[in-house]
C-alpha cells in the first residue's frame, strides 16, 4: 500500500515538471540555432550572420541569460545545399531544448526546410531569404526581417527609372530560385513603369566565364546591366568582364555584391562606380547601432551588410523566448505566438520591426549603394513610392 502511494506520488511529481505538451522547464537549458551556408561561396556573409547573432547572445548571457539560464547558440552548416539544409533542420527539430532558429538565409534552402520547421512549430527568423512564396504557404513559424523580392524588385525598378534614368535594361540572372524570382519581379516593375526595352538572359553560377553572354549584352547597348547573382565572387567576375568587353552601361549588382573583399577588391578597380542594392541600411549612420558595431568589429573585423539584421533577429527571438519563459516553463508554440505579437520593436536597423500575419516585415525598404574607392556609399532608400 505504502509502495503504491510512493509510486503515485513520484508520477505526480514527474508530471508537475514535464507539464503538458512540449513545454519544458526553463532550467533545463535554452538552445537557439543558426542555419546557414557557413562553408562555400557564401561563407563570408553567413559567418557574419552567425557572429552578429553571437554578439546578441553574449549580451543576453552577460545580463544573466533568460531566467538565470545561459543561452546556447548552435551552428548548423548547410553549405548552400537544400539537402544538407534538411539535415540541419532535422537536427534542430530533434533538439528538445531548441526554441528558435535564425536562418536559413538562402531562399532555396529556406523553401526546402519550411515544412520540417513548420511541422515542429519551431520559430525561424530569416535575415536574407527574400523569395515571396516563402510566406505565402500558410506556415505560422516563418518570419523575416528583410524585405521580399517583390518589394525589392519594384524598388529596384523605381531606382533604375528615377535615379539612373534608364531607357534600355539588360537583366542577367543566375538560374536559382532567388535570382530567377528577383529578375521576374524587377522586369514586371520595369514594364509597369513603361520601360519595355529589356533583354533577359541567364548565367550559371560559378561558371567563371560570362563573356559570351556579355558580348550579347554589349550588342543590345543597354543603359544599365542588372546583374543578379547570389555570391560576391560571381558578381566580381561579372563586373570585370563587363569592363573588359567595353560595355558602356552602368553595372548594377544585387545584395550579394555588397562585400568589400570579394567584390570591390577582387574586381581590382572594375567595380568603381557600380551600384548595388541591399536589404540592410548603412549601419554606421544609425546611432542606436553604435554599440553593436563596436562590439562586432573589435571581435570579428569589418562588417558588410549581412550582420545587422541577424543581430536584430536574434534579439527579437530572445525577447520572444524571454516572454515565453516568464512563467518558468516554455514551449515552441509560445515562442511563435510571442513573435506574432512583436509590435514596433526598436532595435538597430533604423526602422521599427512589426511582423504581419504571414511573418513578413511591415513596410519594406531597399537601400542603394554606389562603389566609391574601396567602399560602398549609401545613395538612397526606396520604399515602394
Amino acid at each position: 500500500m505504502k509502495k503504491g502511494i510512493l509510486i503515485a506520488f513520484s508520477i505526480f511529481t514527474v508530471l508537475c515538471f514535464v507539464g503538458p505538451g512540449y513545454s519544458a522547464d526553463v532550467k533545463k537549458g535554452i538552445h537557439v540555432g543558426d542555419a546557414g551556408a557557413f562553408t562555400g561561396d557564401a561563407a563570408a556573409p553567413c559567418m557574419e550572420i552567425f557572429n552578429s547573432a553571437q554578439v546578441a547572445v553574449d549580451e543576453w548571457n552577460a545580463k544573466g541569460g533568460i531566467q538565470g539560464v545561459k543561452i546556447e547558440h548552435i551552428m548548423g552548416d548547410d553549405a548552400m545545399d537544400p539537402a544538407q539544409g534538411m539535415n540541419v533542420a532535422h537536427k534542430f527539430v530533434a533538439d528538445e531544448l531548441m526554441y528558435g532558429v535564425i536562418g536559413p538565409p538562402m531562399s532555396h534552402v529556406a523553401q526546402a526546410t519550411l515544412k520540417i520547421y513548420g511541422d515542429a512549430n519551431l520559430a525561424t527568423i530569416t535575415t536574407a531569404a527574400s523569395k515571396p512564396e516563402l510566406t505565402e504557404q500558410g506556415y505560422k513559424h516563418f518570419f523575416r526581417v528583410n524585405a521580399r523580392n517583390d518589394a525589392h524588385g519594384w524598388n529596384c525598378a523605381l531606382f533604375m527609372q528615377k535615379q539612373l534614368k534608364v531607357k534600355r535594361v539588360a537583366v542577367l540572372n543566375e538560374k536559382v530560385a532567388y535570382c530567377e524570382n528577383m529578375a521576374t519581379q524587377t522586369i514586371a516593375g520595369l514594364k509597369k513603369l513603361g520601360i519595355t526595352d529589356i533583354l533577359q538572359e541567364t548565367i550559371v553560377g560559378g561558371a567563371k566565364d560570362y563573356s559570351a553572354v556579355l558580348t550579347k549584352v554589349k550588342a543590345f547597348k543597354p543603359d544599365v546591366l542588372f546583374f543578379i547573382a547570389t555570391t560576391a565572387p560571381d558578381q566580381a567576375i561579372g563586373v570585370r568582364q563587363t569592363k573588359e568587353l567595353g560595355i558602356d552601361a552602368i553595372f548594377f549588382g544585387t545584395e550579394g555584391a555588397r562585400d568589400k573583399k570579394d567584390f570591390i577588391q577582387a574586381s581590382e578597380g572594375a567595380a568603381e562606380g557600380a551600384y548595388v542594392y541591399h536589404f540592410g541600411p548603412d549601419i554606421y549612420a544609425i546611432p542606436a547601432a553604435a554599440g553593436y558595431v563596436k562590439e562586432y568589429e573589435s571581435k570579428y573585423g569589418v562588417l558588410s551588410g549581412f550582420g545587422p539584421p541577424a543581430y536584430e533577429a536574434m534579439n527579437i527571438l530572445l525577447t520572444a523566448i524571454d516572454q515565453a519563459a516568464k512563467d518558468g516553463d516554455i514551449s515552441r508554440k509560445e515562442v511563435v505566438e510571442n513573435l506574432h505579437k512583436i509590435k514596433n520593436y526598436e532595435g538597430i536597423l533604423g526602422f521599427p520591426v512589426t511582423f504581419d500575419q504571414k511573418g513578413d516585415l511591415l513596410g519594406s525598404a531597399t537601400y542603394f549603394f554606389k562603389v566609391v574607392g574601396n567602399d560602398f556609399q549609401q545613395i538612397t532608400v526606396m520604399t515602394g513610392k
Binding site: 561561396d41 538560374k175 567563371k208 566565364d209 553572354v213 550579347k216 565572387p233 573588359e244 568587353l245 581590382e268
Partner: protein
C-alpha cells in the same frame, strides 16, 4: 540580323580562348585513353590543382598589391610551377591508384579514377577551404595593354596571352610526338602495348610519361584559366573535366589532334550558340553537336575506326 553579325568577331575570340583551354584539358584525357584505354576521371582535379598552384605562386610573389619581380617572369613561374605540381600529382595517382590495377578489368580502373577524383577534391577542400580565391592580376599587366581593340573585337591582354600559350604548348606536343624517339615509342605503345613491349619499349616508362605530359598540360590550363577568369576554387575541376572529356570524345578519343580540334570546336559552339539562342541553351547546343557527331561518326571527328579484335 545586324545585331548578330556585330557580335560575331567578339564571340569568335571568346570561343577561341575557351576552346583552347578545353583542348589543353582534352589532351590529358585522350593521351591516357589512347595508351591505357581508361578514362582518367581525376584529370579535372589535376587541372584544379594547377589553378591553386598558380594562385599560390602569384600570392607569394605579390607584396602590397605589386609583384616583386618582372611580370613575365611571374607568369612563367606560375605556369611552370603549376605544370610541375600537376605532373607530380598525375604521376603519383598513376603509381598508387592505376598501375596496380593495370591488368584488372577496365571497370576497376574507372572506379579507382573516380576515387582519386573525390580524394583530391576533398584534400584541397580540407587544406584550402571552400572559399573562392581571386587572382590579383592588375599588377601583371600595364594599364595601357590591358585591353586591345582589334576591329570590332576586344582582346584583353590575358585572352591573347592564353591563346598564344595554349597553341604554343599544343604545337610543342605535336612536334614531340612526331619527331622524337620518345614520341615514336608513345605512338607504338598506343598502337599495341604488348607488341611495343616485345620491341624493347619500356612500356611502364611511357605510361608514366603520358601521365606526366597530360597532367602538366592540365595544370597549365588551370593556371591560364585562373589568369583569364581570375578565380579558382576546389570545385572548378568538375565542370572543366566534363567539358574536356566531351571535347576529347568529340574529336575522337585517343587522337591528340582530335582533342585539339574537339576542344576548339566545343568552345566556338558554346560562344556562337549564345549569340543566336537564349544563353540557357549553351550547353544544350554543345551536347547536341556531340550526340550528332557520335551518331554519324561513332569514333569521333578524327578518331580511327578500329576493327574489333578477335
Amino acid at each position: 540580323m545586324d545585331i548578330y553579325l556585330q557580335q560575331l568577331p567578339q564571340q569568335l575570340v571568346n570561343g577561341l580562348t575557351l576552346g583552347g583551354v578545353y583542348a589543353l584539358i582534352a589532351i590529358g584525357y585522350t593521351m591516357v585513353y589512347g595508351i591505357l584505354g581508361m578514362l582518367n576521371f581525376a584529370h579535372g582535379e589535376i587541372y584544379m590543382i594547377g589553378g591553386f598552384t598558380g594562385w599560390w605562386v602569384l600570392y607569394l610573389l605579390t607584396k602590397s598589391n605589386e609583384v616583386i619581380m618582372h611580370a613575365a617572369l611571374v607568369i612563367s613561374l606560375m605556369i611552370i610551377a603549376a605544370m610541375a605540381v600537376s605532373a607530380l600529382v598525375g604521376m603519383l595517382a598513376e603509381r598508387v591508384a592505376y598501375r596496380p590495377l593495370r591488368n584488372a578489368p577496365r571497370i576497376n580502373l574507372l572506379l579507382s579514377a573516380l576515387g582519386v577524383s573525390i580524394f583530391l577534391q576533398n584534400l584541397v577542400l580540407n587544406y584550402q577551404g571552400a572559399k573562392v580565391r581571386s587572382f590579383h592580376i592588375s599588377s601583371l599587366i600595364p594599364e595601357s595593354l590591358r585591353v586591345i581593340q582589334i576591329g570590332p573585337a576586344v582582346f584583353s591582354f590575358m585572352r591573347a596571352l592564353v591563346i598564344v600559350i595554349t597553341f604554343l604548348l599544343m604545337g610543342l606536343l605535336a612536334l614531340m610526338i612526331k619527331k622524337t624517339k620518345v614520341g615514336k615509342a608513345m605512338r607504338a605503345t598506343a598502337q599495341d602495348i604488348e607488341a611495343a613491349a616485345f620491341m624493347g619499349v619500356d612500356v611502364d616508362r611511357i605510361v608514366v610519361l603520358v601521365f606526366l605530359i597530360g597532367s602538366a598540360l592540365g595544370g597549365a590550363a588551370g593556371t591560364l584559366v585562373g589568369l583569364l577568369f581570375t578565380q579558382v576554387d576546389y570545385y572548378v575541376g568538375f565542370q572543366a573535366g566534363l567539358k574536356g572529356f566531351t571535347a576529347a570524345v568529340l574529336g575522337g578519343i585517343g587522337n591528340i589532334y582530335g582533342a585539339m580540334l574537339g576542344g576548339i570546336l566545343l568552345g566556338l559552339a558554346e560562344s556562337l550558340a549564345v549569340t543566336f539562342l537564349p544563353s540557357a541553351y549553351k550547353d544544350v547546343v554543345a551536347f547536341v553537336i556531340l550526340i550528332t557527331v557520335l551518331i554519324v561518326r561513332p569514333w569521333g571527328l578524327m578518331g580511327e575506326k578500329i576493327p574489333e579484335k578477335v
